[in-house]
């Protein structure tokens, strides 16, 4: 098992590095970074000086090797845009994104799993139709529109919640709903499908025939098996949310890592972008890895090999 985990981790690091290298190459194709650094009003002399100062005239592979060498020693460099340590910059922003991501996935699981279970237990009922309706609407509504609607209702009309910023927990309520709602339909549908399949299986019939209470059958016997693919999906969704919270962070001015990544591309702030890609990739891989471990715990059959 330990060898298996080590192999997985080694592979994960290779994947992260490959992703970072590809991204590094692509980012250089998005325009001259010296122009982005020097700013829109910069003269040609300004740009030439930036090129010299940052060494953009060197071969790209050399620049990548330099960056990687420093990254391995824990030095992610200095942000070209903010002229501050990338580690310091990201630490602050990542806290916001992680908080938002964890709140959103919790929100999604709290809504989607009970609803999926209820829908599966009562096929074609009102609750089942409501769940399906919610699922379709959830996927159809663009998050920027949903975010603005919530701002209009809760921030402008009712004045209950702030529209932007990340100073207090209230600032996270609306973004959590918007981001979490985006992940809800898939988790809900998978829970419903899994539960329906499990509920029609022999061992559930046996459990029922033995006279076990419905709640015990549903949550102890059925849900434990039905939730296995949901765990994997939730892990993927969580990874997706970290990078995909760009729109939500932008609308609610949350100043998280997702928005920072987006802006860093626009500014050609390569050190920040590189560090974020590496961190996002690592988190994504880590979540998938943790999901595998959790699934193995839920289903002993998966522990083999």
């Amino acid at each position: 098992m330990a060898v298996f985990i080590l192999k997985r981790l080694g592979l994960a690091i290779l994947v992260a590095l490959t992703v970072s290298f590809i991204s590094f190459s692509l980012l250089f194709m998005a325009g001259d970074p010296a122009v982005a650094i020097a700013g829109e009003n910069a003269s040609s002399a300004d740009i030439a000086a930036v090129n010299e100062r940052f060494g953009f005239d060197r071969p790209m592979l050399v620049q990548y090797a330099d960056w990687l060498g420093s990254a391995v020693t824990g030095d992610l460099g200095r942000s070209w845009y903010f002229d501050m340590s990338v580690t310091e910059l990201i630490a602050d922003r990542l806290t916001v994104t992680m908080t938002l991501g964890l709140c959103a996935i919790t929100f999604a699981l709290l809504i989607a799993i009970p609803l999926g279970v209820a829908a599966a237990a009562n096929p074609n009922s009102l609750i089942d139709r409501f769940a399906l309706f919610l699922s379709v609407v959830g996927q159809a509504i663009p998050s920027f529109w949903f975010g603005l609607i919530l701002i209009v209702i809760f921030s402008i009309k009712l004045r209950l919640l702030p529209a932007s910023g990340n100073e207090t927990w209230q600032h996270f309520v609306l973004p959590t709903i918007v981001l979490g709602y985006y992940a809800t339909p898939a988790i809900m549908r998978l829970t419903r499908a899994g539960m329906m399949e499990v509920l029609s299986s022999d061992y559930i019939r046996t459990a029922r025939a033995k006279g076990l209470r419905t709640g015990k059958v549903m949550f102890k016997h059925a849900l434990r098996n039905a939730i296995i693919p949901v765990v994997s999906l939730a892990a993927v969704q969580m990874g997706f949310m970290l990078g995909g919270s760009i729109v939500v962070e932008s609308i609610f001015a949350l100043h998280g890592a997702g928005y920072l990544a987006w802006e860093s591309i626009a500014r050609n702030d390569l050190p920040t972008m590189q560090a974020l890609i590496l961190i996002f990739s690592t988190f994504y891989i880590l979540f998938t890895f943790l999901a595998d471990v959790l699934n193995a715990w839920l289903d002993p059959r998966l522990r083999v090999g």
Binding site: A30, G39, E40, N41, A45, F82, L148, L161, P162, A253
Partner: protein, 504 residues
């Protein structure tokens, strides 16, 4: 706990925790930037938003009255040109920086010598590279030596060149100044969260400056990257002031809501079409032919685009410069909107059926699309390439762009050396490469006689128009939306001066 009790508790906690909403009772002006500011340090920042903070926190030796264009003393009380490359300043006495440090000649010498040192790697070198050094004559007399005659020196000393406290900056450097800025300006900085939040408060010890004392006690600047969210914050009282509001939204606000004042003012930014007249992109390309460039000029109804899209106080211009800039001569050859004449000119140039060409732009997509619409009408089929500025600029310097829609903000400098001097002196963004114009503009940028400079720039603008090296389009404008409780009169240089705000 029952479900009902839980819901009631949640609702009550939300109400109790509702955000604080702004009004003038707490004497705090709240506004937002769309863009994350890279650094508060004036010399390591190139964003317009940075100019706003700079004007509030620091002072230059001089001050240019935005309404009259007159230069007045600020940190200097008198100044005189010793010769073409030396200017001597008598400094104001009794000025202290926000940290209590006394302002004197040492600060000026330190600042100038620091920013002109290439190792300091200030972000916008053209703002400072015209200076060579500074030398102290006595505690309150200083001389700035120039590399060469530089006529707009006063403009720069009144705007982008600001004075730093020598002792503090020697210790803190750009990194320290970025998080704890210290200046002599009307506002001092209380808090900086890089890229996110800036809190300023009135500097009670502010000197007798033509900028005037700050009238509002506190300024809070947040970064909110989405304009819709900024609007929402304005509606719920979280913000008092918005700037750069798109024309359509500003119009709706002005019509729909009587809680806000919507004010429009011109900006120094201008739009223009740049064309490959020097044949650097394609020696045989259509843009190398004067008649084609004339046809393009005749094909575009600039006034219609201004009326329908740009709106506000923008106006069509016939020379590539802002009317408030010194040396901007708009009395040059004009080319009216006349699509038939454009078609005739194209035919004369050998393109009776028009031609197909890649058209580039990097901002204001609707304006670019309108321009393309007019070009298509006369037979110039345009393939649209909308790029980021960095990518487009790179393509231009590599001579891969034959025609593009460009804009230029001149750093809010009211002198055409900041635009004509940038694009018509033979650099890699000079699409004309006209030896005569290069000579005139270079000369105008190195002599101090204003009349002579004006004459040279007029000559240059006349030839640019006659040869149609550019198609000048329009000046830009800025929409400011503010709470009715706020009093603010914007100026035409797009610089929002915090000290000019007051409560009604």
């Amino acid at each position: 706990m029952t479900f009902k009790a839980l819901m009631t508790g949640t609702a009550l906690s939300l109400v109790a925790a509702a955000p604080a909403f702004a009004d003038k009772t707490d004497d705090t002006l709240r506004l937002a930037f769309l863009k994350e500011l890279e650094s508060v340090d004036n010399y390591y920042n190139s964003a317009r938003e940075g100019i706003l903070v700079t004007r509030a926190v620091w002072d230059g030796l001089l001050y240019r009255d935005p309404n009259t264009g007159e230069f007045k003393g600020n940190l200097a009380t008198e100044w005189k040109w010793i010769d073409d490359v030396t200017v001597e300043f008598k400094l104001r006495e009794g000025v202290t920086f926000h940290n209590g440090e006394t302002f004197n000649a040492d600060d000026v010498v330190y600042t100038v010598n620091y920013v002109t040192n290439p190792e300091s790697a200030v972000k916008v070198m053209t703002n400072v590279s015209w200076m060579k050094s500074a030398e102290k004559i006595d505690d309150f007399t200083v001389r700035i030596n120039l590399n060469a005659p530089f006529p707009p020196a006063e403009e720069y000393l009144a705007s982008v060149v600001v004075m730093y406290p020598n002792e503090y900056y020697a210790e803190a450097g750009p990194t320290g100044m970025a998080v704890a800025p210290v200046g002599t300006g009307p506002y001092k900085v209380d808090k900086v969260e890089p890229g996110k939040l800036y809190e300023l408060s009135r500097y009670e010890g502010y000197h007798d400056s033509p900028k005037g004392e700050a009238q509002i006690g506190k300024i809070e600047v947040k970064t909110i990257p989405d304009m819709n969210t900024q609007m929402a914050e304005l509606f719920n009282g979280g913000l008092d002031f918005l700037w750069n509001v798109p024309a359509d939204q500003a119009e709706k606000l002005a019509q729909m809501d009587d809680r806000f004042d919507v004010v429009n003012a011109q900006a120094i930014r201008v739009g223009y079409i740049s064309m490959d007249a020097a044949a650097a992109v394609d020696p045989e390309g259509p843009m190398t032919k004067k008649k084609v460039r004339q046809a393009i000029y005749h094909a575009i109804d600039r006034q219609a685009i201004v009326d329908a899209l740009v709106k506000g106080s923008s106006e069509v211009i016939n020379a590539g410069c802002a009317p408030i800039q010194f040396g901007c001569d708009l009395s040059v050859a004009t080319y009216d909107y006349d699509p038939e004449k454009a078609k005739a000119l194209l035919a004369e140039a050998g393109y009776p059926d028009g031609f197909e060409i890649d058209f580039y732009a990097y901002r204001d997509r609707p304006y670019a699309e309108a321009i393309m619409g007019f070009l298509n009408e006369v037979g110039i089929k345009t393939n649209f390439n909308y790029l980021k500025y960095a990518a487009l600029r790179e393509k231009r310097t590599k001579k891969e762009v034959a025609i593009s829609f460009q804009t230029w903000g001149s750093y809010s400098l009211a002198d055409v050396s900041a635009i004509t001097g940038e694009f018509f002196t033979g650099g890699d963004l000079d699409d004309a490469q006209d030896a005569e114009i290069i000579d005139w503009v270079t000369k105008a940028g190195s002599i101090t006689d204003r009349d002579e400079r004006q004459a040279l720039y007029s000559q240059a603008h006349a030839k640019i128009a006659n040869e149609v090296y550019w198609v000048p389009l329009w000046t830009y404008n800025v929409n400011y939306v503010m709470s009715k409780e706020l009093s603010f009169v914007p100026t035409d240089d797009e610089v929002v001066r915090f000290a000019d705000f007051s409560w009604k």
